[in-house]
């Protein structure tokens, strides 16, 4: 069975980094990513099960890895060679149980919560984060009986979603996919969980002006999360949600997901200014607001987007980084002077919603059903065409798409395309 494998090769990483200067996803040919014939990874224990992926998404962090742009910070937290792919919906190979303890039959559709926390790593007692359910913040992702790896898709022992051979998942990682959700819906559960986690961790209050920078999968998922949560009364309803989206189809989707307005990024600041009734100053990078949005979600994670976020947030406001940043060159003067909060929002775990604790993935499954985020999946590719797939994902916005995924269903049925 085929699987994509990412190896540790400095010259190839350097080459792909160079090639990616031409555009994200352009360096796949020289990147240390290869299609290999492989067997499913051995099961690390009884509470681990084989899952055969049906759909597996290409995420921004995957692209960063292939492009060689990923931060060196993650170096000790991954183990090579690994099979990428952490947005996975698949079919369970044998009877088992899900994270909530319910029984799962072989052949059940499951979605994988990819964080490899203390439970999966058989570490007892768990770290303080895992003890309180905040698995995303697990302190032991480099330890235990597994190789280092923050998530499935970055660990040498578990396999990943970009594989027809399958991957192994711990029971704590398994969530059943409701019948009514399609595979496309299910593959967006993971990004939506990220967005929900970021939104639930932010201090949105009634009548706030909220801005979302970026309208890729995460940006749109964030808009959907705000609409979904405020619609159910799980968070306060902001007065307006403004989205900065470069491409027309992104703006249309943002509107569909409930953004009050979607604008091209250069006009976002003007819209935030108008809705927050603030004044503007002429700054080095254009207009800088004196007031601004109460909460800004940066779903891009570049130096430019962080800087732009800091310029449109009100004094004492909050900027939440949902998109994965790396080394950034940002002027922090406004952070200091305006007493801003710059917060990260990584992955998922357990959310405290209106007094009850619920796993983020459960909330995400509900949200996906309600918002129909499956429409974000714009194109799927077989594994063999991975170079095309990655290039498409790297240019998704420009090519009128959002989420690109690998479709492995044909391969399970034994057929070849």
């Amino acid at each position: 069975m085929k699987a994509l494998v990412f190896e540790r090769s400095m010259p190839r990483m350097a080459a792909s980094r160079l090639a990616s200067q031409l555009g994200s996803g352009r360096g796949t040919r020289v990147a240390p990513l290869r299609l290999v014939e492989t067997d499913p990874p051995p099961c690390p224990g009884d509470d681990w099960h084989l899952v055969t992926p049906s759909l597996s998404g290409i995420c921004g962090s995957d692209l960063a890895t292939i492009d060689g742009r990923s931060s060196w910070y993650f170096e000790p937290l991954v183990s090579f060679p690994f099979t990428p792919g952490h947005e996975v919906v698949g079919v369970l190979g044998a009877d088992g149980s899900a994270a909530d303890g319910s029984a799962l039959r072989a052949g059940a559709r499951v979605v994988i919560q990819p964080v490899l926390g203390c439970r999966a790593r058989r570490i007892d007692p768990p770290c303080p984060s895992c003890a309180t359910g905040r698995t995303g913040d697990c302190e032991n992702t480099a330890f235990g009986h597994l190789s280092p790896g923050i998530q499935t898709g970055f660990c040498a022992d578990t396999g990943g979603g970009w594989s027809a051979a399958g991957l192994v998942a711990h029971e704590s990682q398994l969530y059943a996919v409701p019948e009514k959700l399609s595979d496309a819906d299910a593959v967006t559960i993971e990004p939506l969980a990220c967005a929900l986690h970021g939104v639930l961790g932010s201090p949105i209050t009634e009548d706030d002006v909220v801005a979302v920078l970026g309208a890729g999968t995460l940006g749109l998922a964030t808009v959907a999360a705000i609409t979904h949560l405020s619609g159910r009364g799980l968070i306060a309803s902001p007065r307006v949600t403004l989205t900065g989206a470069r491409y027309a189809h992104q703006r249309a989707l943002a509107r569909e997901f409930g953004a009050s307005a979607a604008l091209s990024p250069e006009h976002l600041s003007a819209a935030v200014r108008r809705h927050s009734r603030s004044m503007a100053l002429r700054g080095p990078s254009g207009a800088r607001l004196t007031g601004g949005a109460d909460v800004v979600f940066d779903c891009v994670g570049s130096s430019e987007s962080i800087e732009a976020s800091l310029e449109i947030v009100r004094p004492r406001g909050t900027v939440v980084l949902i998109g994965m940043p790396g080394r950034a060159n940002v002027d922090l003067a406004p952070l200091w002077h305006r007493e801003l909060r710059l917060a990260g929002a990584y992955a998922y775990g357990t959310e405290s919603v209106r007094g009850t604790d619920r796993p983020t993935f459960e909330l995400a499954i509900e949200a996906v059903a309600a918002m129909g985020t499956g429409r974000l999946v714009s194109a799927t590719y077989p594994l063999e065409r991975f170079e095309e797939a990655v290039a498409h994902a790297g240019a998704a916005g420009r090519r009128g798409s959002v989420k690109i995924a690998f479709d492995l269903r044909a391969t399970h049925r034994g057929g070849r395309r």
């Binding site: 307005a261 604008l263 006009h267 200014r273 108008r274 009734r277 603030s278 004044m279 503007a280």
Partner: protein, 529 residues
């Protein structure tokens, strides 16, 4: 040879192609046989001695008014208000009529020993004029005598200290105007009636008013019931202004109105062909046309914009009258009609027009898409008396590049209007309900209006309301040569050639439609019978 009146030409096989303005440029288009082209009357002869005529008008007022000299006495407060940079179009060669008139008024004031004199640019919610524009309108001498002492002011509709609420009309309309003007012993209003909409009570009641007052007539309802706003008797806009003007008079504010009219001598000699009929183009005209069109094609838009905005029109005064507001306005209107009126028989299915580089709100600036709509659907469409040139449900084809370019200093709220309002709705009523208030009271726009040279935050809405009557009347608006994105954003249809545009129009009005082309500028008013 005395100037020839305007007329309607029927296109036949021998008719040469017709000039269509295209923003900062022009094209020649061949219209289908049987189409009608409305040509403006030629410019009337100028008054031989304009300064003498002004003196005569001030000494022989019209209606219930004493001569100006008799109204002036030592110790009085005199406020001289004048129309702003939106008039005339294009800006006229020096001396501007405002300068000529105000110098005569000041001469009389000096002779009468009046000390307390303040000049106010009656700009309502328009942008403040720059020093160069004030110097151009008033002349350097008046500027240098009054500006350094703070006696040359520009109306500030957002300065609560400087506004006074005079009351409400019977219809409940607030009348709030400039305090200095309202508390003067005499307001002398110096106007330029370039088109039939200008002047009368609109001068003071609009020019010196605040948003609180203006919103009563600058709204979609009024504009839909002004058919057209160029013809006061059928214009709700004017009825409202007249009610306000009468209230101003009743509350004891004394206005001495001076109205001037200009001829339509619009372009200097190097662009003479622009106001000639195509079949009368001389060799020189044809060569200039070819050279200019070619040159404008090759140079960047910014440069051609500069060239056009440096045009100073050789406009000359055709009449000046002064005295009581309504009587004076009647006379001025007659002069406007004498210059601009053309009798046209019946409506047609399609109305075509070429839009020039300038409208009242982009002097020395960029004509953005909203102003394009306003010029075509607001101004040119409404240049009629009786009924519109195009039948209900008909099609308007207008030519303009309609690039989504904006001047951020003059039109900051236009950018937000384009990005944030037009992307939501193009319905005047809906934007009135959903957005107007927030734009009108936005502190940043207010700041830019008061301290910079920005149009008021609500101004782009007014531009759109100006189109309300046309939007309701027309079946479709086609912008020939317009930027597709911008044109669609405004709810119109882009077309790249005249043939395409006509085909698209036929989808709406049916095969073999009748077509009328409004050959303007120079400005004309169609008397549709």
């Amino acid at each position: 040879m005395s100037p020839r009146p305007g007329f309607v030409l029927e296109v036949d096989g021998s008719t040469p192609p017709t000039l269509f303005w295209d923003g900062e440029g022009f094209t020649l288009e061949r219209l289908p046989e049987g189409s009608r082209i409305i040509y403006a009357p030629e410019p009337l002869d100028a008054l031989k001695d304009p300064v003498g005529a002004i003196r005569h008008a001030l000494a022989h007022p019209i209606g219930d008014s004493e001569p100006l000299a008799a109204l002036l006495r030592p110790g009085m407060r005199l406020t001289i208000c004048f129309d702003d940079v939106s008039l005339p179009l294009p800006p006229m060669e020096r001396p501007d009529v405002r300068q000529m008139v105000i110098e005569e008024v000041l001469d009389l004031a000096a002779a009468a020993g009046v000390d307390d004199v303040v000049l106010v640019a009656a700009l309502a919610l328009h942008r403040r004029m720059t020093e160069a524009e004030l110097r151009h309108a008033l002349g350097d001498r008046i500027y240098e005598a009054f500006a350094p002492h703070g006696l040359l002011t520009q109306h500030d509709a957002e300065d609560p200290e400087n506004l006074v609420h005079l009351g409400r009309t019977a219809e409940g309309e607030d009348v709030e105007i400039n305090r200095r003007a309202a508390e003067s012993d005499l307001i002398v209003y110096v106007n330029i009636s370039l088109v039939a909409m200008d002047g009368g009570h609109k001068s003071v009641a609009t020019g010196l008013a605040s948003y609180r007052s203006l919103r009563h007539h600058h709204n979609p309802h009024t504009m839909r019931h002004s058919r057209s706003f160029m013809h006061a008797p059928s214009s709700e806009l004017h009825s409202s202004n007249w009610r306000m003007g009468r209230l101003i008079k009743e509350s004891g504010v004394k206005v001495f109105q001076i109205e001037t009219t200009l001829n339509t001598d619009t372009f200097p000699s190097q662009f003479a062909f622009l106001q000639r009929r195509e079949w009368e183009w001389t060799l020189k005209d044809r060569v200039t046309y070819a050279a200019t069109a070619k040159a404008l094609d090759t140079v960047p838009a910014k440069l051609s914009r500069q060239v056009f905005h440096s045009i100073r029109a050789p406009h000359a005064m055709t009449s000046v009258q002064a005295g009581e507001v309504e009587a004076t306005h009647e006379l001025a209107l007659a002069s406007v009609w004498r210059q601009q009126g053309v009798v046209v028989e019946g409506q047609s299915d399609i109305l075509t027009m070429g839009l020039p580089y300038i409208c009242p709100y982009n002097v020395n600036s960029i004509m953005n898409p909203i102003l394009v709509a306003c010029l075509g659907l607001g101004y040119f469409f409404n240049m009629y008396r009786g009924k519109p040139l195009v039948r209900p449900g008909g099609v308007l084809i207008m030519q303009h590049p309609t690039r989504p370019d904006f001047n951020p200093a003059y039109h900051p709220s236009y950018i937000d209007f384009y990005e944030q309002v037009l992307s939501e709705t193009t319905d005047p009523n809906e934007m009135h309900k959903l957005f107007e208030e927030s734009f009108a009271t936005d502190p940043w726009y207010v700041h830019l209006y008061r301290t910079g040279h920005a149009y008021h935050g609500v101004h782009p809405f007014y531009m759109w309301y100006w189109c309300a009557h046309a939007l309701e009347h027309l079946g479709r608006v086609i912008v020939l040569g317009g930027d597709p994105g911008a044109v669609r954003r405004m709810g119109f249809s882009p077309a790249s050639t005249m043939a395409d545009a006509l085909e698209m129009a036929k989808d709406v009005v049916g095969p073999s439609p009748s077509l009328t082309h409004l050959h303007t500028p120079p400005i004309l008013m169609a008397d549709v019978q």
